[in-house]
């Protein structure tokens, strides 16, 4: 894993750097005392992980996260315990280390990063082409990439930090969010009917006021999602 360290304190950078060097496969590409310099670097080169201090002058860690176009996994390194809740509002923040960090706690963080990277949904194109051109999606289950054709998918349900992809044959539990998978799905086939559900509307059997039947699954339709769903239907009035 390639990483960078962003912290205005040299001692803090040295601590994280040492822990990285004591960790197998963790390679520190650069260290930055300024978040802005780190952003310039990331505009030219991608990394897997950023170890990021929140409390920096002029440009905070949260400013940094919001500025990134394509964000790597972020591990916050900070003295501010109370900011943890805010931190996890950002999908790409995978852990939160409170200074002074111990090697044991750092190792746990590395495990979280590894899990997050391994469970990430991976496009089958190395060049990040939209999956819909291929009519399929690769998901990572226990280090195995499994191909799912879009027309096999019935629905997707959010389950906390995971999603459940229900197909005609079986279900797949993947560590990601509904928002992320929605971006990979063709909009002409999939629609979000509820904050916890995306459905393949070509699989709809029938619709009642506030629910839709897909195979044997009853899926709720929220009031706000109903107009969008109805737009997709070839409705005989």
């Amino acid at each position: 894993m390639n990483c960078i360290i962003v912290d205005d304190e040299a001692t803090a950078r040295a601590i994280v750097s040492k822990m990285c060097s004591d960790t197998q496969n963790m390679n520190v590409l650069e260290e930055f005392s300024s978040a802005i310099d780190a952003i310039k670097f990331l505009n030219k080169q991608s990394v897997d992980v950023v170890f990021l201090d929140i409390h920096m002058p002029t440009f905070t860690g949260f400013d940094f996260v919001e500025t990134l176009k394509e964000s790597p996994k972020i591990v916050l390194v900070t003295s501010d315990k109370e900011l943890a809740t805010q931190a996890f509002e950002y999908e790409n923040i995978v852990d939160y280390l409170v200074k002074p960090i111990t090697q044991e706690r750092f190792n746990k963080s590395v495990s979280k990063i590894t899990t997050a990277l391994n469970n990430q949904i991976i496009l089958n194109s190395a060049e990040n082409k939209p999956v819909k051109q291929n009519n399929e999606l690769f998901i990572n289950i226990d280090h195995r990439l499994i191909k799912l054709k879009f027309d096999e998918i019935l629905l997707i349900k959010a389950l906390g930090d995971y999603i459940n992809i229900k197909t005609e044959k079986e279900d797949y539990k993947v560590h990601t969010t509904l928002k992320k998978i929605k971006e990979k799905l063709p909009q002409n086939t999939f629609v979000q009917t509820h904050r916890s559900y995306i459905i393949n509307f070509t699989k709809i059997i029938d619709i009642e006021d506030n629910s839709v039947l897909i195979a044997k699954n009853v899926v709720p339709i929220s009031r706000s999602s109903r107009p969008e769903l109805m737009q997709h239907l070839n409705l005989l009035k």
Partner: protein, 107 residues
């Protein structure tokens, strides 16, 4: 205010016997601390509440690294009070900084 003495326990544990890292780290502390202390005193003299709180925030990490748990707790409270313009802990905090000043001359 405090009888607490700095120590290198955290740094030694981090170094795990790597004496070159230990020395490099101590050099960073020796270089960074006086600069941060001066910046703190400058901010204090200007009565710049936010800037003083910022540099106390930075300094408190050094207290942690050097095993000054009471000093760290003092710094946490002081940082919060500074944001409200309250400087009543400044003498106690300065005495902690002076303890570190003396200590880093010995390492």
């Amino acid at each position: 205010m405090t009888t607490e003495k700095p120590n290198l326990n955290y740094i030694k544990e981090l170094a795990g016997g790597d004496s070159s890292f230990e020395q490099k780290f101590l050099d960073i502390v020796k270089n960074e601390f006086p600069v941060e202390k001066k910046e703190y005193l400058d901010c204090l003299n200007r009565r710049d509440n936010n800037a003083t709180a910022e540099i106390v925030h930075k300094l408190k990490h050094k207290l942690n690294i050097l095993g000054l748990q009471d000093g760290y707790r003092l710094a946490v409270g002081y940082e919060e009070e500074l944001k409200c313009g309250d400087y009543k802990l400044k003498d106690d905090f300065l005495s902690v900084l002076n303890v570190i000043d003396n200590y880093i001359l010995t390492i």
